[in-house]
């Protein structure tokens, strides 16, 4: 699945964020194998499609047999705490699912549990990050509507990324997460806190010893990850700054219209053009606000997500390094210690296998991740550029119509609106 190239005209469709066309492509290319009707709640379809803009996703969508949505956040108040429950709806044709439709309620902590289980089982696969626990600056109330909506979208995206992953989507934990009415019993199973502690200690010990040498391809990968993380942080910062500056610009811009209106009232001959100016400013302000809204909803989250991805990548690299370190430590013991050769050899073999598996997993997933990143970010940038063009086009129309109305009034003008 990861080796396919995407036909050119396909990408045109994928990147067009016009709603109707999205839905059209969706129904055309992704009918279920058994002919049963598509998920038909419009919001879920739109939500899914808008956030599945990678070619991998489109490929998968052709043969996609599982669809997940996250919606309907609801506040839950108990004696001890208040939290948000999200509705998770799954529709699938997979045989390993007992039913074809599931609806469960999950809170943020449940997502955290799922992700940690996935990382545990597949330490060198790239598991998409979750939205952050809290946003540090600018947060007034943890549960304000914007925050909840942003989080909901990110959680939706998370589950979709998992469901598109060739390996992770078949995870037992993933299935349980999607289907179990009550997750609590499942959360208690599996390696406990203490054993995880042990692993961490070992990992720290190994990393202290240091790696003998990283294989070339992983050294290159590490360098890339560090640079990429750097760049994503910069992009994130720059974009947030742009949003801030634009907000301030719009605030000032709005001041124009009451002043022009006031002036218009003062005048006689000039009343009409002055009122026209006031109206133009009002319209342009509206367009600017829409533009800001779009940036906040599309580009900012996309970039932020990849800042988090970069952290994920770093963690994956560390875990791979640790696995290698463990093997090397054991291997050295095998070579230096004369006693227990047989037992040690066995352990070394296990660790060698483990290392090889880990390296291969990562190599395989790396390509998939890179392609996915390219598609996601390209789509976000294109969307931002399009919105900019749209913003300027709308403002252009506003001023051109003002100009036409003024020239129509003044005598003897031949209008040649370029």
């Amino acid at each position: 699945m990861s080796g396919h190239t995407v036909p050119a005209d396909f990408s045109e469709h994928m990147l067009d964020l016009d709603e109707d066309e999205d839905l059209e492509v969706f129904t055309k290319n992704t009918s279920l194998p058994d002919g049963s009707p598509m998920p038909n709640s419009p919001s879920s379809m739109v939500n899914q499609y808008r956030l599945e803009d990678d070619d991998e996703g489109q490929e998968v969508a052709n043969t996609k047999d599982i669809f997940v949505t996250v919606d309907h956040p609801e506040s839950q108040v108990t004696a001890i705490e208040t939290f948000i429950l999200y509705r998770v709806v799954t529709r699938t044709t997979r045989s390993d699912f007992d039913s074809s439709e599931y609806e469960v309620r999950r809170r943020y902590q449940d997502f955290v549990w799922l992700r940690s289980k996935l990382e545990e089982k597949h330490p060198t696969l790239i598991v998409h990050p979750l939205p952050e626990k809290f946003v540090m600056k600018g947060m007034v109330e943890r549960f304000n509507d914007d925050f909840i909506e942003t989080r909901r979208r990110a959680l939706h995206r998370f589950l979709n990324k998992i469901s598109e992953h060739p390996i992770l989507s078949y995870s037992q934990h993933f299935q349980v997460f999607l289907t179990a009415q009550d997750l609590a019993p499942h959360r208690k199973q599996g390696p406990g806190f203490l054993s995880r502690m042990g692993e961490t200690v070992r990992a720290v010990a190994n990393s202290v010893r240091g790696l003998k040498s990283r294989p070339e391809e992983f050294a290159v990968m590490q360098e890339y990850v560090d640079d990429f993380s750097n760049k994503m942080c910069c992009m994130d910062k720059v974009t947030q700054r742009i949003v801030k500056e634009q907000r301030e610009y719009v605030d000032e811009l709005k001041q124009y219209s009451p002043t022009y209106a006031r002036w218009g009232e003062l005048e006689e001959e000039l009343t009409e053009p002055l009122k026209g100016m006031a109206s133009c400013v009002v319209q342009c302000s509206k367009e600017a606000e829409e533009h800001i809204q779009h940036l906040s909803e599309v580009l900012v989250p996309a970039l932020h997500e990849y800042v988090l991805c970069a952290e994920t990548l770093k963690a994956v690299m560390r875990r791979r390094d640790n696995i290698q370190a463990e093997f090397e430590a054991k291997n050295e013991a095998l070579l230096t210690r004369k006693a227990e050769q047989e037992a040690l050899q066995e352990e070394v073999d296990v660790l060698a296998d483990r290392m090889e598996q880990a390296n291969n997993s990562l190599k395989g997933d790396w390509l998939r991740w890179q392609r996915s990143m390219k598609t996601d970010l390209r789509s976000a940038f294109i969307s931002a550029a399009e919105k900019n063009v749209e913003y300027y086009e709308k403002c252009l129309a506003v001023w051109e119509s003002f100009l036409v109305s003024q020239r129509a009034d003044s005598s003897g003008g031949q209008e040649d609106v370029a």
């Binding site: 640079d227 720059v238 002036w263 940038f381 294109i382 086009e393 252009l396 001023w399 003024q406 003897g412």
Partner: protein
């Protein structure tokens, strides 16, 4: 610079890609075609600005700017334009000329000079008087001033103005010789007039109020503009950071590299484009400023009217008082307190001869008073008539100029939008190729 306009038609903007020089020329052309005798003879430019150093009045070294005025005969038939006569003037000389005009023609709304110091600046723009951009804008403003005066039906005929354009050396003496400084009303006089006029002409009262409100509204607009310019500058310049980050990021990517790199270039272009945009907008601000300063000139005319009206009222009041006194003296009743009356009460009646002489003096005074009132009345009526003529002319000019200014502004906005569309379409292309 301002070309001589051969056609009589009003200059009309017929395309949307107008440069600031063009739109400036449109207003100048509009002035020029209001053919005064002077402008039919001469073409006037303020062509250059130069820095000079010299000793000032307190014998200290100072640096100042001088402006080159070019005068050409306005021949339009075929032949090559003659070489211009030129002279250099500094800002303070323009100020002297204007003061002279203010005093000599108090019933005319005298065109304003460009600002002495940069005000309403947004922070990236220099507030330094020696900054080349400021000097350039001032050059344009001074040319504008000269053309306004030259196209005025009354002012264009003034001899001192003509000498200003033609006599570099002897001009200052000529102005001072007119003795205009003596005619200047003391500030105190005009201030007191404001508060004590009993029957101001309602039209002037309304005009003064309009002028004050216009002043307010334009000031407000200019303040807002400065703040908006600041913010917009910020928005564009931050995008320059994208250029840098894209460039660095493209170095580590294989497939995405080219797309990112070229998109980065467009971001740099976008960030750089704001400089020109705001430069053009500065021109719009200058047009507003001219009318902001015009409101001061309007207020001056209104105040002069009040002063004349006040003097008329004072003269009339004075006359009434004297008539009253005469009556009392004749009939012997004292209604108005007078020192003479009191002393006569205290020290006894005056003799019939004294009374006769006093009556005669009063009679004389009354006659003089009546002459004064008649004069003042005429003066007042003349002033009102002449002023109101000019006010009507001014109103027409203002409506036309400001409408043109708003149109220019719209054209600027359109140009800015087109640039934006271009850059972001290009960027989108690059992203698509990623």
């Amino acid at each position: 610079m301002a070309d001589s306009v051969s056609s009589e038609e009003v200059a009309v903007i017929s395309n949307t890609d107008i440069t600031s020089t063009e739109s400036e020329n449109n207003i100048i052309n509009t002035m020029v075609e209001r053919g005064t005798a002077l402008l039919r003879k001469l073409e006037i430019n303020v062509a250059e600005a130069e820095k000079r150093t010299g000793k000032n009045t307190v014998n200290m070294q100072e640096t100042y700017t001088v402006y080159l005025i070019e005068i050409r005969p306005a021949e339009t038939e075929g032949g090559t334009p003659a070489a211009p006569d030129t002279l250099w003037r500094r800002y303070s000389e323009f100020e002297l000329l204007r003061t002279y005009l203010l005093v000599t023609y108090p019933y005319i709304i005298i065109p304003p000079l460009p600002e002495k110091r940069a005000e309403f600046v947004w922070h990236k723009l220099s507030a330094d008087n020696l900054d080349p951009d400021f000097v350039e804008r001032r050059r344009v403003g001074l040319e504008n001033f000269l053309l306004r005066v030259a196209s005025h039906p009354v002012l264009s005929n003034d001899k001192i103005f003509f000498l200003f354009l033609t006599e570099e050396k002897g001009w200052r003496d000529a102005v001072l010789e007119t003795g205009f400084q003596d005619k200047a009303d003391s500030r105190l006089k005009s201030l007191s007039a404001m508060f004590r006029v009993k029957n101001p002409d309602k039209r002037f009262t309304a005009l003064k109020q309009y002028s004050d409100e216009l002043n307010n509204v334009i000031s407000q607009l200019l303040r807002i503009r400065a703040r908006v310019a600041d913010r917009l500058y910020g928005v564009y310049k931050v995008h320059g950071n994208y250029g840098r980050v894209f460039s660095e990021w493209s170095a580590i990517e294989k497939e995405m590299g080219d797309g990112l790199q070229s998109a980065g270039h467009h971001m740099d272009t976008y960030a750089a484009s704001i400089d020109d945009i705001l430069e053009e907008e500065e021109h719009f601000a200058d047009q507003l400023k001219e009318y902001l300063f015009y409101t001061d000139a309007v207020r001056s005319v209104c105040r002069k009217h009040e002063l004349i009206q006040y003097e008329l009222e004072m003269a009339a009041q004075d006359l009434a008082q004297k008539k009253q006194q005469k009556e009392e003296l004749a009939t012997g009743t004292v209604r108005i307190f007078s020192l003479k009356g009191m002393t006569s009460k205290l020290f006894g009646q005056e003799s019939p001869e004294q009374k006769e002489s006093r009556l005669a003096a009063l009679e004389q005074s009354i006659q003089e008073g009546e002459e004064t009132v008649k004069e003042k009345n005429t003066e007042c009526q003349e002033f009102v008539r002449a002023a109101w003529d000019d006010i009507e002319r001014f109103k027409e000019q203002k409506d036309k100029d400001l409408r043109e200014a708003l149109i220019s502004y719209a054209i600027m906005q359109i140009s800015m939008c087109k640039k934006g569309i271009q850059v972001w379409s290009n960027a989108k292309e690059c992203f698509s190729k990623m």
